[in-house]
Symmetry: C2
Subunit: 333 residues, 2 copies
């Protein structure tokens, strides 16, 4: 064994110490508030063998909404910002867009006309930018966009605008034998482009909105082609439907942030035994955004009322999170 | 250490010996033929770190058809036999079936009229017996049927008519870091009723044909209700489509037995790196059934031609399997 100078050894220890402390605390970005305590008590209860609330590892299914729950969603869902950029990129191949709404509005930067096109207009934009391409090529294009695009306010890449406390929660659950899923209104291939790298959630655990697809065989060159038709809208009651169809088990923990998550939370809580339902409440205008009952994006109204009357966990972002984003300093509050 | 009589020790060893031998051989029901060798060579290649064919565990996705690949499918898909039994069970609630085809044919035991109703008739029977009920209740009813129904020829429960060599193959793959999936034309909830217990495949790894469903909230009593409308037909080109939609990764190993598996096998083989495509060839009229190009159930024609010209593995059941069913004796051939 080589000699080590005592001071050098002491120095190493001092360098390591904060890491060791962090290793001992799986949720360092959560203040010791009511939400953290509820999470830890739930996990202890369902993982303690012999406990009346014990749940076998195979049944430890945890589902998370994505937009507003794992990453930000203001001023607009990031996938919509992607679609708007895609309209501009694809415009040379679609000369008709110069005169067709809602595409004209996007190309002219006419926010008013775009808003006037409403949900139908937005669906046209989503379909035009998400279909007519193979799944493989779509994912490659999403990754190209994510690698270069930056958020209009923070100027950070979108994949850095994920919630550090939620990353820790995902990891903490997995370390306790949970299988973590995304169940989100986002289109499934868009989310798979980054979910494994950013959240540690593999493609087969990402559930979302889907388009119809077709197996294409061109003289032996095979691909899955995306068609301009919505197959499943994974929002509201569509969430328990996709959970039942794809997972085939009822989750024991669910986390969301908006009324689109209400039925998923209800479905999770209605099963037998101990269950956890959580909401991220956007209360932090300084570090993120503050919005709930009146927001156009990520409206939290009925689900907030339901959480209050049913005793679900509501995470007060401003008061309960020591950090919001990984790039925030620990002392940012 | 307590004293042990030498003869007692020797006796223990003799009792243990066959178990130890079996533990050493993960595929005891496979003769040492070409198929077994191809499987073992493939698994060794993709799991040996540093090998040019190495595949990381997360990418080790293996997909299996069910009917005719993991369990028998003669004289008719077992799920159809279930549906016919269900028509009889449900008939008192449907007096109109006494005069409506194809239900009348089922109730009268009129095989000729039933055959004449064709695929449309069969789809009516499937929908009538699989919809109008919650997923939970449907799975419970499937389990009741499986617990008591017996096969018309063997008089064995259907869940015992699974292929012992394929059970061993599933276990062998999982022991080598593979994630095993069912991708089958069978209806997904029907298969989930037994897949975990019988094959060790959990619900979230069972992919199949689906019906539309609806989230139902009756004054707080929640359920997923099955609707009388086909959502996805998981056969032929529908298999790579569901693999892409639900798994989001391309498998590296696929096993089927009929033309309905052709596109899944093609899709699996067309990916980069080393890939395995296998077919169970029903050549064993004595222990199981012998059929291929001319069979109405599980026709194996185009896929057999493709296997021959592309060098896929074709398992000759009669010559390569030491046992077919778990209830067969080891020396049954």
């Amino acid at each position: 064994m080589p000699q080590v100078h005592p001071m050098r050894w002491l120095f190493s220890l001092l360098v390591m110490l904060p890491l060791l402390v962090q290793a001992a605390d799986p949720l360092p970005s959560w203040y010791n508030g009511a939400s953290r305590q509820a999470i830890e008590q739930f996990v202890a209860a369902v993982t303690t063998e012999g406990s009346k609330d014990y749940v076998a590892p195979t049944e430890r299914i945890a589902v998370f909404d994505n937009d507003g729950t794992l990453w930000s969603e203001q001023p607009m869902y990031f996938e919509v910002l992607f679609a708007l950029d895609e309209v501009k990129r694809l415009a040379p191949q679609h000369p008709e867009w110069k005169t067709q709404q809602p595409f004209k509005a996007v190309l002219d930067g006419d926010q008013k006309a775009l808003a006037a096109s409403g949900t139908d207009g937005m669906m046209k934009i989503i379909v035009a930018t998400h279909a007519g391409v193979s799944t493989e090529d779509f994912i490659a294009q999403t990754r190209r966009w994510l690698a270069t695009a930056v958020h209009p306010k923070t100027r950070k890449p979108y994949t850095e605008m994920v919630y550090q406390p939620m990353l820790e929660l995902l990891q903490y659950l997995r370390a306790n034998g949970f299988k973590t899923y995304i169940v989100s209104g986002g289109e499934v291939a868009f989310m798979r482009a980054f979910a494994e790298e950013v959240y540690g959630i593999p493609p087969e655990q990402v559930i979302g909105t889907t388009l119809d697809t077709r197996f294409d065989d061109r003289n032996g060159s095979l691909s899955i082609q995306r068609l301009p038709k919505l197959a499943h809208n994974d929002d509201g009651p569509g969430k328990p439907v996709s959970i039942d169809s794809i997972i085939g088990r009822r989750p024991i923990l669910a986390f969301g942030n908006s009324d689109g998550d209400l039925q998923m939370l209800q479905w999770t809580k209605a099963g037998p035994g101990k269950r956890f339902a959580g909401l991220v409440h956007h209360t932090d205008a300084k570090r993120e955004w503050a919005y709930d009952r009146d927001s156009k994006v990520g409206r939290l109204d009925k689900a907030l009322t339901s959480a209050t009357s049913n005793g679900w966990t509501v995470v007060d972002m401003a008061r309960e999170w020591q950090r919001v984003y990984p790039f925030d300093s620990i002392d940012s509050q």
